[in-house]
């Protein structure tokens, strides 16, 4: 590791288990500041758990997690540099709140107990809404929004934090193609502004267009590297099949760690490899 810390998020040999179910096994992943990382993998591969671990919502049974150089169990004020966009399904659309109220919640950590949102907080919330193209719907009740609009409210809430790291869990699920492409454009802009982004996604094809790095996850399997390197037929099949291998790019060049190869699967990290979307 470099002396002045270039890492936004570091996971070292992290294992997460719920009871006897292992959700993540021995995962190491390093995300540089300003990097846009896509996390792909099949259902149940631990993608969401990975985000939740970085957010400190889940405690690993083994391994270390650091966010902006701070151990995740002692984040303190570092929390206020994290923006999180949970899966849309985690929100009850019939809850009696308005769009602006939801976005303002992103500011609650900074506002602190016993204080009301200030004019500055409201401006930040409005600005975040404007950013996702929802400024004129601030007074709507969340139940009156479409799925795509509700998703944008959750993104605005994460942006209202004014985060350094943005973590998104399947932001394009249930969103129409037009909305989702404007969503990716927005993420691209945020990326260019220097925000570190970790995005969980099903859509390997889209991920490869926008991100700097892809992490392929299947409980323990992580292939991590540039999309054109990682998203080879073999790796994607290995990820979505049940093969296990472990590859990390702690320091370039890429190193293969561990000897978890099974079923004859090999991770070939060759820049010449063509990319192919998953499921083909």
């Amino acid at each position: 590791m470099a002396a002045n810390d270039p890492w936004a998020v570091e996971l070292e040999n992290v294992t997460v288990a719920f009871g006897r179910t292992v959700a993540l096994q021995d995962v190491s992943l390093h995300v540089r500041r300003g990097e846009f990382v896509g996390i792909v993998g099949p259902n149940g591969s631990g993608k969401t758990t990975l985000l939740r671990t970085v957010l400190g919502l889940v405690r690993p049974v083994r391994g270390e997690v650091r966010v902006l150089g701070t151990p995740v169990d002692r984040l303190g004020a570092v929390r206020q540099r994290l923006g999180y966009v949970p899966q849309l399904a985690s929100i009850d659309p019939r809850f009696p709140v308005h769009v602006l109220d939801v976005v303002l919640m992103g500011r609650y950590g900074q506002i602190g107990l016993f204080h009301r949102p200030s004019a500055a907080d409201r401006r930040a919330a409005q600005a975040a809404l404007a950013r996702v193209g929802m400024a004129d719907l601030a007074e709507r009740q969340i139940g009156q929004l479409s799925g795509g609009q509700r998703q944008r409210v959750l993104i605005a809430r994460a942006l209202a934090v004014e985060p350094q790291i943005l973590l998104l869990d399947e932001p394009a699920t249930g969103v129409d193609p037009v909305t989702s492409s404007s969503l990716y454009e927005l993420l691209n802009q945020l990326h260019e502004e220097g925000i570190t982004i970790m995005m969980v996604s099903h859509d390997v094809g889209v991920v490869s267009q926008y991100v700097d790095q892809v992490a392929c996850l299947n409980c323990r399997l992580v292939v991590h590297g540039r999309p054109e390197e990682v998203l080879t037929t073999e790796v994607v099949e290995g990820c979505y099949g049940c093969g296990t291998m472990f590859l990390t790019h702690g320091a370039l060049p890429h190193i293969m760690v561990g000897s978890h190869r099974k079923k004859g699967l090999t991770a070939r990290v060759s820049p010449a490899a063509q990319h192919k979307p998953a499921g083909e």
């Binding site: 206020q80 949970p86 019939r94 919640m105």
Partner: protein
Amino acid sequence: MFDILSYTFMQRALLASTLIGAICAIIGVYVVLKSLAFIGSGIAHASFGGVALGYLLGWNLIFSAAVFSLLTALGIGAVSRRSQVREDTAIGIFFATSMALGIVLIGLLQGYNVDLFGFLFGSVLAVSQQDLWLSVGMGLLVLLTVGLFYKEFLFISFDAEMAQVVGLPAAALYYLLLALIALTVVISLKVVGIILVEALIVTPAAAAYQLTDDLGRMMGASVAIGILSAVVGLFLSYWLNIASGATIVLTAALLFGLATALSPRRRAVAEAPAEGEEAAQGAAE
């Protein structure tokens, strides 16, 4: 017609019912929105053990019920957050155990259980001056706490995980909310009783939920429905000479039915009913 108000016991009863109608209605909003109806019911039933223990030790019953309910609330909270046991299972075990404990303790007292019946089903006309003051004190505490933590309770009810992410003490707030439910249950015991208190917490809030999609207005409507149920129920029970707690709860259930019939929330029909509504219907039956 209202000359019954010249009786001191009736004045106290009216004051007490109005107060608990309002407080139950406010706490009920969180109970409905955060789907805590079963937890509330568990806490209420567990307070029976506290009342019995209070008899045995010669303590003030409201006080002993408060201590017991608070401990139960925190216990249920801890189990539901940490343990491998499913939350509803844990609550079921907690409240059955506590009720059983109460019954055993009453057995030890032999024959001295007239007032216990009042605690089970409510006896608003037997509210003493001391009970009233205790209720006022605890009620103000509940209102003050809700006022202080309004935006935090809103956040943990809507999205507890995100609340934790932005750095709110989500676990502590959850326990605080459970403690407020426990206190609300306790101050309501004399009026509606252990068995029915949950209905008075859930029903006005569930009715209000049918009428508006703004949290502030939902609280206002819930309080109005809670107070209306308490006052109308109290007078009806007096004139018809029937149990006051049950009459109050039935009035609230009637208002819930009206609110549902008049609900502008038509979209809710297409989807599954919320837990709060089911619980309200279940409790009112």
